[in-house]
Amino acid sequence: MKNALLVALREVKEYLQDKADLAFSLILPIVTFALIYGAFGGSGLFHGTAYVVNEDTNGIYAQQLLNSIKKQDSLDLQLLKRADADNKLNRSDLTMVFLIPADFSDKLNLGQPAQLTIMQRGNGGQDGQIVASIVSGIVSEMNQQFTVAAQVSQALSGQNIPPAQIAMTTMQFLKRESTNPLVGIDEVSIGSKPNTVKEFLPGILTMYVLFSISLTAAAINDERKKGTLERLITTRLTIGQLFFGKFLAGVLRGFIQTLILMTLSWAVFRIFTPFSFVETLLIALLFATACSAIGLLITSIAHTGEASTWVGVFFTMTMTMLGGTFFTITKGTVLYQIGRISINGYANDAVKTLINGGSFSTLGVDIAVLAGVTVTAFIVARMLFKAVPQGK
C-alpha cells in the first residue's frame, strides 16, 4: 500500500509539474464552467442592443423615442454616427441599425406621417428581429398617443378649452394607462420550471471524470515509453502495487477536477446544499474509481500511448453520448435502454437525483453498478497485464 501511494503521489507531483497537462485538466473545467454559466447562468430573458442613428438631434419626438428605448429593461441603447453605422453594416459588424431621419419631429409636429427606418443586413438576425419587435412596439405606442391626442382635440374643438389643456390632459390619461393598463399579461408555468443548470451540470461533471479514463489509459504506456516501467519492474515494487498506484493517481486526478467544477457550481448556481455537495462528491469519487479502473483495463490491452489514448477517447465519447451528457434521454425509450451500458449514465442519474433533492439511499443500483465496474475492471486489467505477451 505504501509503495502504491508513493507511485500515486509521484504521478500527481509530475502532473502538477507539467504545465500543459495541468492547464488542460484544471483550467478546462473552469472554462467549461464559464461556458455553462454563459449559456445558462443569466435570467434567461432576452437582452439586446438597439443601435440608433439619430439625425434629428434637436427633435423632441426623436428624444422621446430614444428615452422610451432607454427605459426598456431588455434593451441597451447605442447611438452611432451615420457613416459609422454604414461602415459596420457593410462589414457585417452589425446586422440592424435604426435611423431617425432629420425631419422626424418636424413632420410629427405638422401632423404628418414620419418614418423610422430600419437598416439591416439580411433579415437582421434573430436578435435583431427581437430588437426590431421591441422598437416597433415603442413606435406603435407613440403612434397611439398621437392618434388619441388628435382625436381628443378634434372631439373637443369649439368648446373653448385651450388646446394646451387638452394636450396635457390627454397625456396624463395616456401616461396613467401605460403604467396601469387595463389589459395585462400574466405568466403561469405549468409544472416545475425547467432548470438547465441542474439538467446539464451532472453530465458536464461526469464528462470530466470520464476524461480520467484516457489519462489512466496512457499512464502505464507513458511509463513504458519513458523506460521507467522496466526500471520499476526491477525494483521491489510489485506489479500489483504499480497498478494500484496508477489507479489511485487516476482517481485523484478525476476527483480534483470534479471538486473544482462542483465548488464553482455551488458558489455560483447555489444548486447544492452542504449535504448534497458531500453526497455528490462521494458519487464523483466512486465514478472516478470506475473510470480509473477502466483506464487500467485499456492500458493492459493497448501497448502504445497512441493506441491507449484513442481507445480511451473513443470510450469516453461513446459513454458521454449514450450517458445523456448533452441531451436528456427519456426513460423507457430504446435510447435509454441502450444508454444503460454507459457507466456515466448511472453517475449522471445519481448526481441529478442528489442535486434535485433526492435521497442518497435511493441510489443503490447506481452505486452498485459503479462499484461493480470498478472491481471487475481492476481485476481483469491486472490479469490481462500479466497474461498478455509483452504486457510488462
Binding site: L6, K13, Q17, K226, E230, T234
Partner: protein
C-alpha cells in the same frame, strides 16, 4: 577465483519464433566487472532483461546471490540495480526527486532515500543540480543520473546496459571512474557496450555474443592473445573475427 555471484544456466528466450537468446550460460564472480559484447541483435539486452527479472526465460535459470530467478524473483530484485540502455527518468521531476522516488521503490525510508540520493548525486558530481528538472539536463548529465538511480538501495549486482551511449568524454570518464571505484568496494557489474576499448579498459572478463549465443568468453588480454600479439591486437579485432564483418540490423 572469487565465489560466483551470478550463475546463468542455459538461458533461452524467443520472440515470435526467433531465438533471441539461445542457451546462454556464464558466471560472474563477486566484485567482478563482466562485459557482455556483441553486435546489434546478438541478445545482450534480452539477456540483461531476463537476469533483471523484466522478462521470463523460456528455458534455463540463473541464480543471483544464491537466489533463483524463477523461484525467488523478489529476492533477486532486492540485490540488483539496473541502468537501462535508454534513459529511464521522470523528466518533469528534479534529479533529487527521481533518486528519492527510486530509492523508496528499493525499500529505503524517506530519510535514507534522501541521504543516499545526496551521496549518489555527489558521486556523479551533480550535487549542485539536485533540484534541477531533468528535462533541462544535458545528455551526459542524464546518463549520470541514470547510473545514480541504479545505485539507489545499495545493489550488490549492477546491470549496465550501454551506459555511455552518446555522451561526452568527460561524462564517460566519470562513469568509468565510478564503476571502477564501486567494483573496488565489492560491487559486481554486468556491463554491455558496443565500445570495445571501454570493455578492454574496465572489464575483468568479457563474453562475446552473436546470434543469441556466447561465442567466446575470457579476459580481454587472453582473448587478444588468441588471435595475435596482445599488445598489437585490439578487442575490436577479436570481436570482428568472431562475429564477422557483415552489417547487422
Amino acid at each position: 577465483m572469487a565465489e560466483n555471484f551470478l550463475a546463468a544456466q542455459d538461458l533461452q528466450k524467443s520472440f515470435n519464433g526467433n531465438k533471441a537468446v539461445a542457451g546462454v550460460s556464464f558466471t560472474i564472480g563477486k566484485g567482478e566487472i563482466f562485459g557482455l559484447l556483441g553486435p546489434n541483435g546478438a541478445g545482450k539486452t534480452t539477456t540483461i532483461r531476463i537476469l533483471s527479472t523484466v522478462l521470463d526465460a523460456d528455458a534455463g535459470d540463473a541464480t543471483i546471490g544464491g537466489f533463483s530467478l524463477r523461484k525467488n524473483p523478489a529476492e533477486v530484485r532486492s540485490l540488483i540495480g539496473v541502468c537501462p540502455q535508454d534513459l529511464a527518468l521522470y523528466e518533469e521531476l528534479s534529479a533529487l526527486d527521481n533518486l528519492i522516488f527510486f530509492g523508496r521503490m528499493e525499500g529505503l525510508d524517506g530519510k535514507e532515500a534522501r541521504s543516499q540520493a545526496m551521496v549518489n548525486l555527489a558521486l556523479m558530481e551533480l550535487t549542485e543540480r539536485a533540484k534541477g528538472k531533468i528535462a533541462k539536463f544535458s545528455g551526459g548529465m542524464k546518463r549520470r543520473i541514470n547510473l545514480a538511480i541504479a545505485l539507489m538501495g545499495n545493489p550488490k549486482l549492477l546491470f549496465l546496459d550501454e551506459p555511455t551511449v552518446g555522451i561526452d568524454p568527460q561524462s564517460r570518464n566519470k562513469i568509468f571512474e565510478t564503476i571502477l571505484n564501486l567494483r573496488d568496494k565489492g560491487l559486481t557489474v554486468l556491463y554491455t557496450t558496443h565500445y570495445m576499448e571501454e570493455a578492454d579498459r574496465i572489464c575483468d572478463r568479457v563474453a562475446i555474443m552473436d546470434g543469441g549465443k556466447i561465442v567466446a568468453m575470457d579476459t580481454p588480454l587472453r582473448l587478444r592473445s588468441q588471435i595475435g600479439d596482445p599488445d598489437k591486437v585490439t578487442l575490436e579485432d577479436v570481436f570482428l573475427k568472431l562475429t564477422g564483418r557483415s552489417l547487422r540490423d
